[in-house]
């Protein structure tokens, strides 16, 4: 008897209808797709993107050339040369990051005693020529100047957890 009812059940295509109904319901679901260049996924304030060197509000650069970041960098991406300025402070003459070597681990930012080197939320950048992957002190400071507001806001949000 079971075989007979089973046969007629399979003839009714019940399972197939159930499957079709499922995909029909999915047809009307809101889509997960993020239309990337037009839409963005919200970013964490701990996002580790392109680097920047920050300044104090009075315009003095923060970096004191302690070379902790250079020492901690696991990818050896940071190169620092330093000298003594006329006012007796120690400053960098060269601060370069090779973005091809960098693994964006964020150790440089954590090691920095003066919050100078930071990783910003910028992730959309590209290089067009060989050599552009090495960004120097001027570029890093320029990035810091331009996005100081965002950098400071992200640091403030995360301050309680540091």
């Amino acid at each position: 008897m079971n075989r007979v009812t089973g046969y007629f059940k399979s003839l009714m295509l019940l399972e197939l209808w159930a499957g079709l109904w499922l995909t029909f319901k999915y047809l009307w679901r809101p889509k997960y797709t993020m239309r990337y260049p037009m839409e963005h996924i919200p970013k964490s304030n701990r996002f580790r993107g392109l680097h920047a060197l920050r300044r104090y509000p009075n315009g003095e650069e923060r970096c004191i050339a302690c070379k902790l970041c250079e020492a901690v960098c696991p990818a050896l991406a940071i190169t620092i040369d330093s000298t003594q300025r006329e006012d007796g402070t120690r400053r960098t003459t060269r601060y370069e990051i090779d973005l091809f070597k960098c693994i964006f681990c964020g150790f440089c930012e954590e090691s920095c005693p003066v919050d100078s080197i930071v990783e910003t939320a910028i992730h959309e950048y590209h290089f067009e020529k060989r050599g552009e992957n090495v960004i120097d002190k001027q570029q890093l400071l320029a990035i810091g100047d331009r996005f100081e507001k965002d950098i400071a806001a992200a640091r403030a949000q995360d301050a309680a957890f540091r």
């Binding site: 499957g19 079709l20 995909t23 029909f24 999915y26 047809l27 809101p30 889509k31 997960y32 239309r35």
Partner: protein
């Protein structure tokens, strides 16, 4: 736009037969090719939506131009010939698949007796043409001189031939009830005063389902697409094809799908007849009269439902195993169709179903 007319008139004056032939060819073919492009776009959209994706949405409004971009890419690509392929047959195969797929369109009516060829034996021509298409696939598999292509071609051929039997029987039951092989007569035989209850899908419901499932199998579409089962035989009969010949195979597959989706309503769902026929006879205005009086928009609405069902199946069902396909075709469909052909004969003989209004 006048210059097009000028060119046409000049050509018509000097080469009347040639101009006539070319325009007769272009009128059905251009809409069909554009329809195929739209269908491919719709397939990617629907399947995308069912996957909770968006589908193509970048090229043109709603991604509508995406297919044209893909086609132009294919046409501009190099055609690679396998070293040991039979070059002539290799190039002939896609055409051999394409020509029957297009030729079958000549007998499809979009209104009563409005077909390119209102042939008496239209249904017979359709069966012949859809069977011819399989030669293109076999030749493609053989000429490629590749194991995978050969396996795909053999699978496809066996499958198409098996399902042709079930499909033939379901068509036989239709023509028993309609008493004609002419597609317009078949549709007109479904006219009546009982609305959609006069359609052949009601007395022939199992045949209707079997017809469409066989149609899906005939066109080698999912869930019966073992002929191009990616996981086992890469892409089946068209592994070795690239560029324009591949585009032709693609075009053929979708033209066949559109053909089957047109035939299903014509044979079983009353073609251009309205599901409200006979229930409302008011004459309001020609723009809305077709809703209850019937007209070509109904045919296209029904076609659209079947065409979308194809994509729906593809998004829903996993691929059948090869022996399961053969079991379904030979041990399920054919016995049911044979029984129902007998039932249809009884219906006709005892006058349970009357053809025509």
């Amino acid at each position: 736009m006048n210059w097009i007319l000028d060119v046409y008139h000049t050509c018509a004056a000097h080469f009347p037969t040639l101009t006539m032939a070319i325009s007769l060819l272009l009128f059905p073919l251009l809409p069909l090719i554009i329809g195929v492009a739209m269908y491919v776009w719709w397939e990617r959209k629907v399947i995308g939506w069912m996957h909770v994706r968006m589908g193509p949405n970048q090229i043109g409004p709603f991604g509508l131009v995406q297919t044209f971009a893909d086609v132009f890419k294919l046409l501009l690509k190099e055609v690679v010939y396998p070293q040991k392929a039979n070059k002539a047959l290799f190039l002939l195969a896609p055409l051999w698949a394409l020509v029957p797929a297009f030729a079958a369109w000549s007998v499809i009516p979009i209104a009563s007796h409005a077909a390119w060829s209102d042939a008496n034996a239209g249904l017979l021509l359709l069966l012949a043409m859809t069977s011819m298409g399989v030669y293109g696939i076999i030749i493609a598999g053989w000429a490629s001189n590749s194991r995978y292509a050969m396996l795909g071609a053999m699978r496809s051929a066996a499958q198409v031939v098996s399902y042709e039997v079930a499909m033939g029987f379901s068509l036989v039951s239709v023509l028993i009830l309609a008493g004609s092989l002419n597609l317009s007569d078949i549709v007109n035989a479904q006219a009546g005063s009982k609305g959609f209850l006069d359609w052949f899908a009601v007395p022939l419901l199992p045949m209707f389902i079997i017809y469409f499932v066989s149609g899906v199998a005939e066109t080698n579409r999912s869930p019966f697409d073992v002929a191009e089962g990616e996981s086992e035989i890469v892409a089946g009969f068209h592994v070795e094809y690239s560029g324009a010949p591949f585009a032709v195979f693609f075009l053929t597959e979708y033209a066949n799908m559109i053909l089957i989706s047109f035939l299903a309503p014509i044979l079983f769902l009353g073609g251009w007849l309205s599901p409200l026929q006979g229930w409302i006879t008011a004459d309001v205005h020609w723009t809305v009269n077709w809703i209850w009086m019937g007209g070509w928009p109904w045919l296209f609405i029904k076609f659209f439902a079947f065409a979308t069902a194809y994509l729906w199946f593809r998004a829903t069902f996993p691929r059948y195993r090869y022996d399961q396909i053969m079991r379904l075709g030979w041990k399920v469909f054919i016995p049911i169709t044979i029984v129902w052909v007998f039932v249809a004969g009884c219906m006709k003989y005892f006058g349970w179903v009357t053809a025509g209004a």
